[in-house]
């Protein structure tokens, strides 16, 4: 009977960690996706000041997510997105909008990859 309780306890821990991890990834994905698309729109319109502010907001948002996501997924993949996000603001300042769009696309792809790794359908 004692072992049954241990088994139940372990099952609850596993389920809780998987649930929290999946929810956190999904939350980060949908939140970052919205931020990326609004940033992309302002870059495409050439609104550099607005884009700069959005990039700064995006970066600080990602720093928060990075800490949480590192508990559940490979640090290298999370770090790669962080690098892509951190290069956006300097590129906007340098008015290299083509490179900014490329970095946004790169970060979006990496984020999708992160979601796909944890997707049971794959």
């Amino acid at each position: 009977m004692k072992r049954l309780y241990f088994a139940l306890g372990i099952f609850v821990i596993i389920f809780a960690v998987i649930f929290c991890g999946t929810m956190e990834i999904e939350k980060a994905h949908s939140d970052m996706k919205t931020s990326f698309s609004s940033l992309q729109k302002s870059v495409e319109k050439g609104e550099s000041e607005k884009a700069e502010a959005l990039a700064e907001k995006l970066e600080s948002k990602w720093v928060d997510y990075e800490k949480k996501l590192s508990l559940f997924v490979n640090h290298a993949e999370v770090c790669e997105i962080g690098v892509a996000v951190s290069t956006i603001k300097p590129l906007i300042k340098a008015k290299q909008f083509g490179d900014v769009l490329a970095e946004i696309k790169k970060a979006q792809t990496l984020l999708c990859h992160l979601v796909n790794i944890e997707n049971i359908k794959n």
Binding site: R3, L4, F6, I10, F11, V17, H75
Partner: protein
């Protein structure tokens, strides 16, 4: 470096707790499924310890899943004969009525050297004395000797004896093991002319006999 130390400490405690949950077994007594789990757990624990790119949770969760599976499998093997056969296998009789079953040996891929080694480990150096030899599921060989070579018991020789029971430790390393034995231990020390600090071990059996080991100077 600090992260490596922290991760190692976390995984060490997780593995220890998991092994305790799985139960007490010596490595040589592990069933095939338990051996697989033990090897896998050691592998899984070592990866996040060394690779700082991997989250600790990936190692911990993998270990917990294995422990959960082990608990489920052990519960199933306890309840069902079919599961027991699948996960633990069946013991096989290698020597029956003093005759070696060479077909079984071939099936188990046991050489004559393996058999002789197993018999020696079971304390039998002469195969001709063996009546039955059984290869257990954990790979050990259990042996029953022929009646003529088997050890005579007290019952065979009609010797009546009283059981000594489980000896109780009264004094351990110069300290009284339990308050219950305090007066008894002190009385014995007085009778033997010993001080508490001079005694390394004092035990008492059910027949009321005391056994004393003095401390080395």
């Amino acid at each position: 470096m600090i992260m490596t130390v922290t991760r190692t400490a976390i995984l060490y405690f997780v593995v220890i707790i998991c092994m305790r949950i799985m139960g007490k077994r010596q490595v040589g007594e592990l069933q095939p499924s338990e051996l697989v789990i033990t090897i896998l757990i050691s592998e899984l624990a070592s990866i996040p310890m060394q690779d700082l790119n991997r989250p600790v949770s990936s190692g911990v969760i993998a270990i917990l899943v294995l422990v959960l599976l082990e608990l489920i499998v052990s519960a199933l093997t306890l309840k069902s004969d079919i599961f027991r056969k699948i996960f633990e296998g069946k013991s096989a009789v290698i020597i029956q009525n003093g005759v070696i079953d060479q077909k079984v040996m071939k099936k188990l891929r046991v050489t004559i050297d393996d058999l002789l080694e197993g018999l020696r480990q079971a304390g039998n150096f002469s195969i001709e004395k063996v009546n039955y030899a059984v290869m257990e599921t954990n790979g050990r060989i259990s042996v029953q000797l022929k009646e003529d070579f088997d050890t005579a018991t007290r019952q065979d020789m009609n010797i009546k004896s009283k059981s000594e029971g489980l000896p109780k430790v009264l004094i351990s390393d110069g300290k009284i093991a339990s308050e219950v034995f305090k007066n008894e231990a002190k009385k014995q020390l007085k009778e033997k002319g010993l001080k508490l600090s001079q005694v390394f071990l004092m035990t008492k059996n059910d027949l009321g006999e005391y056994f004393i080991v003095r401390k080395e100077k």
